[in-house]
């Protein structure tokens, strides 16, 4: 008992204490919807709320009838059982009970209940379920400011002054286009309203808005589950950009996305719009019932609509009637019925019908861009080939001279032998290794040897029959056949305990039967994949003769004298009893054709010919030479990337976009008991939210559902929308739980303002640009964001908007801003996804090598983040705190972690921007001020300039003393132009990187 009392006492003390922080509250009579309902919901509804299945003591407190029938006597607080239960110290009687783990009521909250009951316990509806009405605004005043100033006045807070012009232009440029202003824009003499109009007219406005919408619409370029297959829904992304740029009314925007396919004479674009409801994840996992998946998708659409349009946690009603809001399970499934008859079957990957075959007008530009890159690189590759002719001729002569005594391309490996399971292995004078002794079912052999070459390009394995083997075959096992399941190549430094893995890219054998099934033995390439269910065997060969296999290393392995090569042969087949009996291992340092065939190497062939080699052999030798001819190797690789990029965009000319289309015959819809896909309850008809916004009628379609949302009668849609728009400009919404306008959500900080904007939204014809213009032309938007200690104490969260909004910019804006400031940004709109730089190996790790992210090159590398390929299972690594794009997310997440610091310091996107900035400002009279102007939109104060100058000088001194470091820091592709000093550029790059990491640089000031 003591514990409970202590707990209450301490919690009361806590409240009293935090009360001393003097946070502003505006006191007046308790209002049911503002003061009482949230408490009832949070502490009582779980057991005494709308969900009958959880109701205790047959008491419900979510209706006045229920409450006054039992525990509340209006006008008589002392006589109300409720008050007794709230104030008792008897743990058996107190509410909420200890086992509910709900916070006990504070003294102030208990007082609220008492005052409210004394006032007659007036009941009401939750504010968000009443239609918004707006108060009148004096002529000629800005409505946003009138309403905010009223609250400020009541709270006795003083509004901050307007922020400096540069800060403001930076703020509004980010909010409306996601990009910072250029120095020229900062210097222009446009008025504020002209700037706003300019920004709203910019094509980058649509991109900025699309990023918001894509996060909410859980857009991604892959399925998200299992194979995480790629989909081609990006034309929908471009549709969204267009819709915002052309300022399509939000009502029409909604109708087309929900039901574009049902509009009379629907255009391809209107059908494309419905991809909105196909952006959910899809699961093609092997053992899954497609119907279960299909049901998941239907529910996801309703949940997305709930979060994004209604600000309701509809998903809570999937398993039971909502515990807090008046949403029944029947309502929920009535909504799912609108989406239950899509002509889909729950499949994923490329079988996720219905599709729309679509040709995007944005592809031609992407193709032209890719063609140009190929056109730039092809001549370079040809030039490099021509440049190779002369050194090749010299090399060829050298080879001919050197090979006169006969060629030996392959060198036998001799060294220490180990077997995991105990087979005895012995190497003879010729290097042939013979197995004897125990003959385990499976075994791994390991040969560790010094190589004697300065590099290794490939490994050759020869296997031999022997009389001591079963039937004179390859193995002492039952059948005499061998099965090599996997190989591993490693390097180990002498006296070091750690090895490194060497990647093997190719395997060929003189006998390597192709297989009917992926999981059986034959094909030698099976030894490269760590899978014991496939591998190399020569079973089925016409005669028992020696065989050979050659393995090519991905890149030539440079090996030092104190390093050993470790070659591991794993024999872990299902069949077992197939371990190699006799074999020999070789290495070579010849690149190219030599390690791609088991036959004689080009050098070996050359040694056999008298005089000049014929064309074919000369060609092979040239290939080998080019492998090691650096200029050509680089040029060829660059060309290959460009060609591959071109093929990719050419293939995007016509794509299949996932869209909505109705089945000829509707599926019946049932309540799913406990939300389980196969537990059908009562059948339900399409309908709305019976208690909040009913929608009745027969023959209702998705079109009716969309119109219900944007009719202007709906209490939630417009409020939720203007709250999103406010959040885009202030970092938080007027309702700070944008996903929950229900009873458990937060109340609006500025209820009259929210409602005024909501009514304005409807009356303006859902004009998004108009609403944004209204917000950013207010004085409240333009305030200085510096915070005084008094403000921080009295209004820590800036709920009264006495100061400007200060918050960290989303990470996608940071990347775009860095590219833009550095003059790198490719401003093109639309088209197939691109791949910005990302560290190598990230996809491979999660998918064990199945997917590889190859960064785009050329202009495609510097597109806006909006266009970056989004693999749902691994979001782009240069982003942080981004929406996960798995389910609808509407709240901005902002954390502050060391990993973010590392990203901004070391990600190549930012380093590239820093280098490019350095090139642009070098040689200017005030390079540091120029950097600041581009990155912070303002000049440095002297105290700041001194710090920056000091760091610049330090870096300059360092790089003047170490030219090589400067070169490495500036990257392989030199950014130096005529007359620039590399030490200066490196120092400026370091300085630009420092500025990119400033708190101010990443912040909406």
């Amino acid at each position: 008992m003591l514990g409970v009392q202590m707990q209450r006492l301490l919690c009361w003390l806590t409240v009293m204490f935090s009360g001393c922080m003097c946070a502003v509250t505006i006191a007046d009579e308790p209002q049911f919807s503002r003061d009482i309902l949230p408490l009832l919901s949070d502490r009582c509804f779980a057991c005494h709320g709308p969900d009958p299945s959880q109701r205790k003591a047959d008491l419900r407190l979510d209706t006045r009838e229920g409450a006054t029938a039992k525990v509340i006597v209006p006008g008589d607080a002392a006589g109300s059982e409720l008050m007794r239960r709230l104030t008792t110290l008897d743990a058996d009687l107190q509410m909420p009970p200890v086992e509910a783990h709900k916070p006990v009521l504070t003294a102030a909250e208990v007082q609220l209940f008492a005052d409210w009951i004394r006032a007659g316990a007036p009941w009401g509806r939750h504010w968000a379920f009443e239609r918004p009405l707006r108060v009148s605004i004096p002529e000629g005043r800005h409505p946003v400011d009138v309403l905010i100033e009223r609250q400020l006045e009541r709270a006795g807070l003083t509004a901050a002054a307007e922020a400096p012009a540069g800060v403001l232009l930076r703020r509004v440029s980010f909010d409306l286009t996601g990009l910072p202003p250029t120095p020229a824009e900062l210097a222009s003499d446009l008025t504020w309203n002209q700037h706003v109009d300019r920004l709203l007219a910019s094509p980058h406005y649509g991109e900025r808005m699309a990023m918001w919408w894509l996060d909410a619409a859980r857009y991604a370029d892959t399925d998200g589950f299992q194979a995480d297959a790629t989909r081609d829904n990006w034309p929908w992304r471009d549709w969204v950009v267009d819709a915002f740029n052309s300022n399509q009314s939000f009502a029409q925007f909604t109708v087309e996305q929900f039901a574009g396919d049902l509009l009379p004479n629907a255009s391809a674009e209107q059908r494309l719009a419905t991809c909105f409801h196909r952006n959910h994840m899809t699961n093609g996992e092997g053992g899954r019932d497609p119907e279960e998946s299909r049901v998941d998708y239907v529910l996801d659409r309703v949940n997305t609509m709930g979060t994004l349009y209604l600000g309701l946690t509809l998903n809570c009603s999937q398993c039971h009637s909502h515990k807090f809001d008046p949403i029944t399970q029947r309502d929920y499934y009535g909504l799912t019925a609108f989406f239950n008859s899509i002509d889909e079957d729950g499949r994923a990957g490329r079988s996720a019908k219905p599709y729309l075959a679509y040709e995007s007008r944005h592809v031609a530009r992407a193709v032209a861009e890719a063609e140009q890159l190929v056109a730039e690189r092809r001549p370079r590759e040809q030039q490099a080939r021509v440049a190779a002719e002369q050194p090749f001729a010299v090399w060829l002569e050298e080879q001919r001279a050197a090979l006169r005594g006969g060629a030996k391309s392959w060198h036998v490996l001799r060294g220490a032998l180990e077997s995991v399971e105990g087979t005895l292995l012995e190497q003879d004078a010729e290097g042939v290794i013979q197995a004897s002794g125990p003959n385990p079912r499976q075994d791994d052999y390991r040969l560790s040897a010094a190589v004697g070459l300065s590099r290794v390009t490939g490994i050759r394995l020869e296997v031999y029959p022997h009389a001591s083997h079963t039937r004179g075959g390859f193995s002492r096992g039952l059948s005499g056949e061998f099965i090599l399941t996997d190989i591993k190549v490693q390097v180990r430094q002498r006296d070091s305990s750690v090895v490194r893995d060497i990647s093997v890219s190719g395997a060929v054998a003189d006998f390597s039967p192709s297989q009917k099934e992926a999981r059986s033995y034959g094909d030698v390439r099976g030894v490269l994949d760590d899978d014991p269910r496939n591998g190399w065997t020569t079973r089925g060969a016409p005669a028992i003769v020696p065989h050979a296999a050659v393995f090519e290393l991905t890149t030539p392995l440079v090996i030092s004298a104190d390093e050993e090569l470790v070659f591991e042969m794993r024999q872990r087949s299902t069949d077992g009893d197939s371990n190699l009996g006799r074999f020999r291992v070789f290495v070579t340092d010849e690149a190219g054709p030599a390690v791609r065939s088991t036959g004689s190497t080009p050098c070996e062939l050359l040694a056999l010919v008298e005089g000049a080699p014929d064309e074919a052999l000369r060609g092979q030798l040239m290939e080998q030479f080019l492998e090691d001819f650096e200029p050509h190797r680089v040029a060829r690789k660059a060309l290959a990337v460009a060609e591959s990029q071109l093929r990719e965009v050419q293939a995007a000319k016509r794509v299949e976009v996932m869209v909505l289309a109705e089945k000829a015959e509707s599926r019946p819809t049932f309540i799913l008991e406990r939300g389980l896909w196969d537990r059908h309850g009562d059948e339900v008809q399409r309908g709305g939210l019976s208690e909040i916004a009913p929608l009745n009628g027969s023959g209702l379609t998705r079109l009716d559902l969309a119109r219900w949302l944007v009719s202007g009668e709906h209490p939630l849609t417009a409020r939720v929308l203007v709250n999103h728009l406010w959040q885009l400009c202030f970092g938080v919404g007027l309702v700070r739980t944008p996903e929950d306008f229900g009873v458990q959500g937060e109340r609006p900080d500025q209820a009259e303002l929210l409602d005024w904007l909501a009514v304005e939204c409807v009356e303006s014809g859902w004009d998004v640009k108009h609403l944004l213009r209204l917000i950013v032309t207010s004085a409240a938007y333009r305030r200085n964001s510096d915070v005084t200690s008094e403000q921080r104490e009295r209004d820590p969260d800036n709920r009264f908007y006495a100061r400007g909004a200060r918050f960290r910019l989303p990470s996608w804006m940071l990347r775009d801003a860095a590219l833009h400031a550095a003059g790198l940004l490719n401003p093109a709109l639309g088209g197939p996804p691109v791949r910005p730089w990302q560290p190598p190996g990230v996809w491979e790790e999660n998918f064990m090598g199945r997917f590889t992210w190859v960064p785009s090159e050329g202009a495609a590398r510097h597109r806006r983040t909006l266009y970056a390929f989004w693999r749902r299972s691994i979001a782009p690594t240069f982003l942080f705190d981004s929406a996960q794009r798995r389910v609808c997310e509407v709240r901005s997440i902002r954390t502050n972690t060391p990993l973010q610091a590392l990203t901004l310091l070391n990600d190549e996107n930012y380093l590239e921007a820093a280098r490019s900035l350095a090139v642009r400002v070098a040689g200017q009279s005030e390079p540091l001020q120029e950097l600041s102007l581009r990155l912070l939109s303002r000049r440095l104060r002297e105290s700041e300039r001194l710090v920056l100058q000091r760091e610049y000088d330090r870096a300059l001194g360092y790089y003047r003393g170490d030219a090589d470091a400067a070169k490495r820091f500036l990257g392989a592709e030199s950014v130096l132009s005529e007359g620039q000093e590399s030490a200066v550029l490196a120092a400026l790059t370091a300085t630009a990187s420092l500025l990119l990491n400033l708190d101010e640089a990443v912040t909406h000031e």
Binding site: G287, G745, S873
Partner: protein, 479 residues
């Protein structure tokens, strides 16, 4: 009170300190929760848990569903059922995946020999010879079950308590609830075995995600590359002393801005850059195994010399435990043996057996096992019926959610015991069932956290790892 455990008061201070305006509502909820826990710790044992047995967790996650029938749950009686149809009385309407729903459920006895080992006499498969040697340190739980039959939902439930992605993972909850013992390393680290084989079950990063918890609680993946944590390496040509200068300059400029702006978030950013600087030293040091003596590699087996291997990751896990990291999670993929059990499953055993056993031995001899909880297991088990022709070596087993085996060691768990049992077919739990949420409750309990108290307010609801259904702490396996 132990000096290493973050006290609740410290936790409150820490949270108030890091909390930002945006998440203030959620932050306050957590704060209130912790304050209540504080009340409990000082006043009433009925509120909150305050007796941590484990300070940290090493979770050896075996992705794909290892077969309990081949590894832990010996059913010699199945021989007489070989090739016969599984009785309906056993199957009781169990859902199958679409991979085997069309075929007859013919019983396939395991072909593996089991051995009674150690003083406890627990039976372990011959495929796990090293584990046999440490059986007296283990607590085998043979009666786990889950509700999910496909990988992604089952693994998501196994790690986050819910089958749909979006909830915080166990490691994130732990980080959120307990904070850090080491100021130079993240609280939750993830290590994935490097395999050459493309896996059919990708490891989604939501498996170690923070869900709706602040993202600093999400698992940080230690990669087996030159750069163990993404972006850890400074660019080529930028020496440390220059970086230090840059950071000093950055701090000065941020400090100047802080004085003008007054936003405490700037102070937080300054600290994060310092932490990043420290991580640039502490993580490479940690990941570099060259200071480990030869006998350690011998203990963990030959594969431990290969960076990125499961065995090397086990050594890393021990190093992380030594450094006080709260939650270390290894992932070893490819336990989904629908076919060719004798080669496929043994290959994964070979990857993991010696190192898993070595980790237990190594922790013990260093005195770390008593407060480090080691957990081994996957998202579900495998069915008694053969998939494919039951009597051929081609056969495998399909997914099975109704029973599977895991083992735990150290961290206040009883050693040398087996808990729970399945029926004669290893199909249903017969005794002492343990739902995955019971496992979650138990793990949190061992860490000194009451699973009903560790809540986070999101979308108007108080979420917890164990979800809304009741979960029980398995007291019987706790010392």
């Amino acid at each position: 009170m132990s000096d290493n455990r973050l006290t609740v008061q410290q936790a409150v201070a820490r949270r108030a300190f890091l909390g930002n305006g945006l998440q203030s509502a959620a932050g306050l909820a957590a704060l209130a929760c912790l304050q209540r826990a504080a009340c409990g710790a000082s006043g009433s044992p009925a509120v909150g848990q305050s007796n941590p047995r484990a300070k940290r967790v090493i979770f050896l996650t075996q992705s794909g569903g290892p077969s309990q029938l081949e590894l832990f749950d010996n059913k010699p009686g199945l021989l007489k059922w070989a090739g016969r149809e599984l009785p309906d009385s056993v199957r009781r309407g169990q859902r199958l995946t679409t991979m085997t729903a069309g075929q007859k459920q013919l019983v396939m006895p395991s072909r593996v020999r089991f051995r009674r080992c150690g003083e406890s006499g627990a039976e372990i498969s011959e495929w796990l010879p090293h584990l046999q040697g440490v059986v007296d340190e283990l607590c085998l739980v043979r009666s786990l079950y889950t509700d999910e039959i496909n990988h992604a939902p089952a693994m998501t439930k196994f790690l986050t308590g819910h089958q749909l992605a979006g909830r915080p993972s166990m490691g994130a909850w732990t980080s959120y609830g307990l904070g850090s013992e080491n100021s130079s390393l993240p609280e939750y680290l993830v290590l994935i075995s490097k395999m050459q084989r493309p896996s059919d079950q990708p490891l989604y990063d939501h498996y170690w995600g923070s869900g709706f918890l602040p993202s600093r609680h999400q698992g940080v993946k230690l990669r087996n590359s030159r750069e163990p944590v993404l972006y850890l390496r400074d660019p080529d040509g930028l020496p440390r002393e220059l970086r230090r200068g840059m950071l000093d300059g950055l701090t000065e400029l941020n400090q100047q801005h802080l004085e003008q702006s007054g936003d405490p978030e700037i102070a937080a950013r300054i600290r994060q850059y310092e932490m990043a600087w420290r991580m640039q030293t502490s993580i490479p040091e940690l990941a570099d195994l060259s200071d480990e003596p030869e006998e350690v590699f011998e203990l963990y087996g030959p594969d431990s010399r290969r960076p990125g291997s499961y065995a090397a990751n086990c050594i890393l896990a021990r190093r992380l435990a030594e450094r006080g990291v709260r939650f270390v999670q290894l992932f070893h993929p490819d336990w989904d043996h629908h076919s060719r059990l004798p080669s496929w499953c043994t290959a994964r055993c070979r990857d993991t057996d010696q190192a898993s056993a070595a980790l237990v031995v190594d922790l013990k001899r260093r005195g770390l096992l008593e407060d480090t909880l080691v957990i081994w297991g996957g998202e579900f088990g495998r069915g008694v019926a053969g998939q494919g022709q039951w009597d051929s070596i081609e056969a495998g087993r399909d997914h099975h959610p109704r029973c599977f085996t895991m083992w735990l060691a150290g961290g206040g768990v009883k050693s040398g015991i087996s808990f729970g049992a399945t029926d004669d077919f290893s199909y249903n739990v017969a005794v002492d069932s343990v739902h995955v949420r019971d496992l979650h409750a138990t793990i949190l309990d061992l860490l000194g956290i009451d699973h009903e108290r560790l809540v986070y307010r999101h979308q108007g609801l108080d979420f917890r790892l164990t979800g809304v259904e009741s979960a029980k702490v398995i007291k019987a396996i706790i010392q």
